[in-house]
Structure formats: structure tokens, C-alpha cells
């Protein structure tokens, strides 16, 4: 082999800059795929196991490919979770708080971004404190307050704080809106003012339409976080009301009380089927709106400057 062709080969394999050669590319893709698999592994296993019948489940030879598709697990967990009714309630304490929290935090973010106000620094400090202080610290007086207000063990205990911008991660959303509204050019507001619009009209007809990406991102994250929250909701909703997630925590006892199921003991296939039923709503949302989740963080300027 001539030296020049050797060098050419070397360049093609190893590349000029370390990662543009064939070997480098191969290594890069291998790494990304392997790590991606680590992420997907629990989901794949969950799905495969959820369609196994008891025979496949205990069989040592059946691991990744079940001998048949067995949907009884889904039927059972559908009944145990009381899926239709529970889903409806879950959505009530997820979609509504997410929507109202988005609106309230956007108002606060707009105020901080557009107006010279007294005590603005104090407000910022308070917002940061609410982010750093864990909810656990003040949830006990909140519990007492809700008892006094008579909204304990009702959806209002979730809805009311969200309405007033004190819901889950409200601080983060205020900061998102603050960053976003701050980036909007001030000239637009000024020309609206010259045309005779008052500040509220300016907000409605210029602020909101231009901030649609921020609204969508805040709403989606709020939705997902409310969906996944269980610590506070289990405290405030009590025993009689339950979301899908809370139902999963008490799956065992719910199973023993359930009527009209053919399976007699809870096995892992049934549990996996229930878990899948619970992540399906957010999973579908994610697949449809993926762009807004992943790019939203960058686009809304959460990452700061």
C-alpha cells in the first residue's frame, strides 16, 4: 500500500476532527442507540409483560416474545382502576389547574416584564423562595386552612391554589413568562398605545398572541406535572377521591374489592398493564406535542442568558 492511500484511509476511518471518520461515527451512533435502549428498556419490558398470560409469565423460556397476545390483564386493570370514571376525575384535577395556573402565572410574568413597579425586587425574591422552599414545609397549615374553608377532600383543594398562581411549580412558569414577555419588542406596545389601546387590551391583543409558544409550553408541562403529582393530592383529596396515580398506589386493595374480574391474584402482568393504562394519556400527549416539550425549554428562554 502506498503511503498516500494509507493516509487517505486513515482519514476516512478516524476523520480529521475526531468524530467525522467512519469509526467515530460508528462509535457515536452505537453509544446513542445503547443509551437510548437503556431509557426504553423499562417501557419495552413493561409492555411485553403486560400482554403475557400466567403461563408465559412463569415460563422460563418465554422472555421477550409472548406466545400469544393476552389482553385479559388490561381488562382486569381497567376494572380495578375504574378507568373511565377515574380518568375523568384525573383529567379534572389536571387539565383545569394546568389551564388556570398558566393564565395566572402569565399575568404575573407580564407584570414583571413590562411595568416599572415598586417592590419588584421583593416580588422576585418571593418567587425564588417559593421555588426553593419545598411544599412539604407549609403543606400542614394549608391542610388546616383547607379544612376551615371546607374544601378538603374535594377538587377545589387542587383548583383553588392553582387559580391564584400557587400551584405546582408556579414559580418556574412565572419566570418562563417573564423571560418571554421581556423579549417582545417594546415598540409594539408603544404603537398600540398610540392607537388608543389601554394596557389590558395591549396584553390581550399583542402580548398573548405573540407568546403562544410560551403558553403552550407552560400548559403542557403544567399538565404533565399535575398528572404525575401524588404527594399533595393524596393528602388533600383524602381516601374517597382518587386519581389514576393514587389508584395505582393502592392497587392491591382496590383489586381485592373489585367486582367482575376473572383473575384472582395480582401478578406483575396485571400491574404492568395498569401502569401502562396510566401513562398512556400523557404518552399520547407527548408523542403528538413532542416538539413543544423538547424545544419549548429552549424557545421560552428558561435556560436564561
Amino acid at each position: 500500500m502506498k503511503p498516500t492511500s494509507w493516509i487517505r484511509w486513515k482519514k476516512r476511518l478516524l476523520g480529521r476532527q475526531g468524530n467525522d471518520g467512519i469509526l467515530g461515527r460508528f462509535f457515536l451512533y452505537a453509544l446513542i442507540v445503547v443509551i437510548g435502549f437503556v431509557y426504553l428498556y423499562p417501557l419495552i419490558k413493561m409492555f411485553v409483560y403486560s400482554i403475557k398470560d400466567l403461563e408465559d409469565l412463569v415460563s422460563p423460556v418465554v422472555e421477550w416474545i409472548p406466545t400469544k397476545i393476552y389482553l385479559e390483564n388490561y381488562r382486569t386493570s381497567w376494572i380495578v382502576l375504574n378507568y373511565g370514571k377515574t380518568l375523568l376525575f384525573s383529567l379534572t384535577v389536571t387539565l383545569i389547574p394546568a389551564a388556570v395556573q398558566t393564565i395566572t402565572t402569565s399575568l404575573a410574568g407580564y407584570a414583571l416584564a413590562k411595568f416599572k413597579m415598586k417592590f419588584k425586587v421583593v416580588v422576585f425574591a418571593l418567587i425564588l423562595v417559593t421555588y426553593l422552599l419545598p411544599q412539604q414545609v407549609y403543606m400542614i397549615p394549608k391542610y388546616v386552612l383547607f379544612l376551615k374553608l371546607g374544601i378538603m377532600e374535594s377538587a377545589w383543594s387542587i383548583l383553588l391554589p392553582a387559580t391564584f398562581g400557587q400551584g405546582l411549580s408556579s414559580a418556574i412558569f412565572i419566570l418562563i413568562f417573564y423571560q418571554f414577555f421581556r423579549m417582545q419588542p417594546a415598540q409594539l406596545d408603544e404603537s398600540a398605545e398610540i392607537d388608543g389601546a389601554n394596557p389590558y387590551q395591549t396584553f390581550l391583543f399583542i402580548g398573548i398572541p405573540l407568546a403562544t409558544p410560551a403558553y403552550l409550553t407552560a400548559f403542557l408541562f403544567s399538565f404533565v406535572w399535575y398528572w404525575n403529582e401524588t404527594y399533595l393530592s393524596s393528602l388533600f383529596l383524602g381516601e374517597s377521591l382518587y386519581t389514576l396515580q393514587l389508584r395505582l398506589i393502592n392497587f392491591q386493595s382496590a383489586f381485592s374489592q373489585a367486582q367482575g374480574i376473572s383473575q384472582t391474584i395480582v401478578n406483575e402482568s396485571i400491574r404492568y398493564a395498569a401502569t401502562i393504562l396510566i401513562i398512556v394519556p400523557v404518552l399520547i400527549t407527548y408523542i403528538v406535542m413532542q416538539k413543544w416539550f423538547v424545544e419549548g425549554i429552549d424557545r421560552t428562554g428558561v435556560t436564561g442568558e
Binding site: 453509544l31 411595568f115 416599572k116 419545598p134 412539604q136 400542614i140 391554589p161 412565572i174 401524588t230 404518552l283
Partner: protein, 288 residues
């Protein structure tokens, strides 16, 4: 009315809903929580009965079995953080570097790596762990976990073995951090790399001399996010104590409030220490 005054008023009108909420649902509860932590609180037919007992609740945390249980779970959590925060941070940086390359299906991979953020609720993770879907069999079968148990003292071995058996779950907590680092990477000017290359720097040197320093602020942000995210995760045993003590007959709201405040103080110290360490390491690096 002059312009400044009007601006102030309009601004506050936008902020008013949040402000009312803050006073009622956050500030008042925080103040009451402090009072509770110094009191014996019980619910009776006539309402809440609050008796001031000074530091008794706090003294009990450090002198009773219930208190020791809680303190132990906080200590365990601190050791966990010691391992999890570096693992998550380093891992997130590596993934962000990989995903920032020009690769095919970049959107798909990003989607996969961010997926856990969407579905990882406490109960779901709990199911995955208890049914064994969160461990890769290879890690278990390699005997690594048993080996750790024989080499180290049980107190240290427990959290470390836990980390290996939950590696997937740990990686599942890095979705947001990966996106933060990708955003920071995209803000680095390409010309910096080109200039460095002309000066003879290889990719390895560029990584340490350009990329990592440019990420330094984001590393701090990501570390803070990681600590808070892990600390308030609903399956964290330490915060489980707060809720359990609320309704236990021998403890109640007062004791639980004190536990919550001790937890917050411990968290603040941990957060301060980690940020101090991260910042210190960055300064050290900058000096060299």
C-alpha cells in the same frame, strides 16, 4: 396621574391575583408552619388547639426513635445525593454533547431521552422498581452489588448498592438537565472552535478548554435543579416521614412541622454545599 404612577398601578393589577394567592396559600401557611413547629397542635371538635411548647418538638427529633428514623433517612438521602448528583450531571453533559453532534434522527433520540420526564411519576417508578423493570439483569447478575456489600461497611454499601440496582431510574432523572445543557451548547460560538483548531487544539483540548467552561453556569443550574427534584420526589423516604407524622397519634401537626423545617434546613445546607463544591471546582479549573 403621571406615567410612572400609572405604570406601577397597572403592573400591580396584573400581579394582584398572584399576590393574593401568595399571601393566602403560601406566606400565611409558611408563617403558621413556623408557629406550629413550636407548638403542640391537635384537632378537636371545637377546632385546632395550639399550645406553645417552645423547642420541645425540635428536641424530640434529636432524642426519640421517630426522630432518629427521620434523621437516618435524611442522612441516607445526603449520601445518595453525593453519588446521584455527579452521575446525573456528568451523564447529562455526555448525552448533550452526543445529541449536539450532527446525527440523523436527532429529534427522535431527543424525544426518547426526554420521555421519562413525562411519565416518571412516583407510583409509576415505584411499580418499575418493585417489579424489577428498572434494573438491567446484567448489573445484578455480575455480582457487583454483592461485591460492594463485602468490601464496604453496611452503612455505605446500602446506598451504593441501591445506586447500581437503580441505574436506569437515576438516568431517568436527567431529562431536563440534558435539554439545559443542549441549550447551553448551542449558544457557544462556532468560531471559537475554529480558532482553537487553527491554533492546533484537538477535540479533546477543545472540550476541556472551551466547552466545559462555557457550560459552567448551566452546571450550577442543573445541580440545583437535580437536588431539588430528588429532594421533593414523592417516593423520597425523608418526606414520607412528614406526612406519616402528621397523622400519627403520638406526634401530630406540630412535630411534623418541625420535621419539615429540619428537612428544609438540611436541604439548604446540602444545596449550599453542592453549589459551593461545584463553584470551587470550576474556579480551581479556571486557575490552571
Amino acid at each position: 396621574m403621571n406615567r410612572a404612577k400609572r405604570n406601577n398601578l397597572v403592573g400591580w393589577s396584573f400581579l394582584s391575583i398572584w399576590m393574593v394567592g401568595f399571601l393566602v396559600f403560601t406566606l400565611w401557611p409558611i408563617a403558621t408552619s413556623i408557629l406550629y413547629s413550636f407548638s403542640n397542635v391537635s384537632i378537636q371538635g371545637s377546632g385546632i388547639v395550639q399550645v406553645w411548647i417552645g423547642l420541645e418538638n425540635y428536641r424530640r427529633i434529636f432524642s426519640s426513635a421517630v426522630g432518629f428514623d427521620f434523621l437516618k433517612s435524611v442522612a441516607d438521602f445526603a449520601i445518595e445525593l453525593l453519588f446521584k448528583v455527579p452521575i446525573i450531571t456528568v451523564f447529562a453533559i455526555i448525552i448533550a454533547l452526543l445529541l449536539n453532534q450532527k446525527i440523523k434522527f436527532r429529534g427522535l433520540f431527543r424525544g426518547i431521552y426526554f420521555l421519562p420526564v413525562i411519565i416518571a411519576s412516583g407510583p409509576v417508578i415505584n411499580q418499575l422498581i418493585s417489579q424489577g423493570a428498572a434494573t438491567i439483569p446484567l448489573v445484578e447478575e455480575s455480582g457487583l452489588v454483592d461485591l460492594i456489600g463485602t468490601v464496604l461497611t453496611p452503612d455505605l454499601a446500602r446506598p451504593i448498592a441501591g445506586i447500581f440496582s437503580q441505574l436506569i431510574v437515576i438516568l431517568w432523572f436527567s431529562g431536563v438537565q440534558i435539554l439545559l445543557f443542549i441549550a447551553a451548547l448551542q449558544k457557544i460560538d462556532h468560531q471559537t472552535y475554529e480558532a482553537a483548531m487553527i491554533d492546533g487544539a484537538g477535540p479533546w483540548e477543545s472540550l476541556w478548554k472551551i466547552t466545559i467552561p462555557a457550560l459552567s453556569n448551566m452546571i450550577t443550574v442543573s445541580v440545583i435543579f437535580t437536588v431539588i427534584n430528588l429532594a421533593t420526589f414523592s417516593e423520597n423516604p425523608a418526606i414520607g416521614h412528614i406526612k406519616r407524622n402528621m397523622f400519627a397519634i403520638d406526634t401530630g401537626f406540630g412535630f411534623a412541622s418541625a420535621v419539615a423545617w429540619i428537612y428544609f434546613l438540611a436541604l439548604a445546607v446540602m444545596l449550599g454545599l453542592t453549589v459551593f463544591l461545584v463553584r470551587g471546582m470550576q474556579k480551581e479549573r479556571a486557575r490552571r
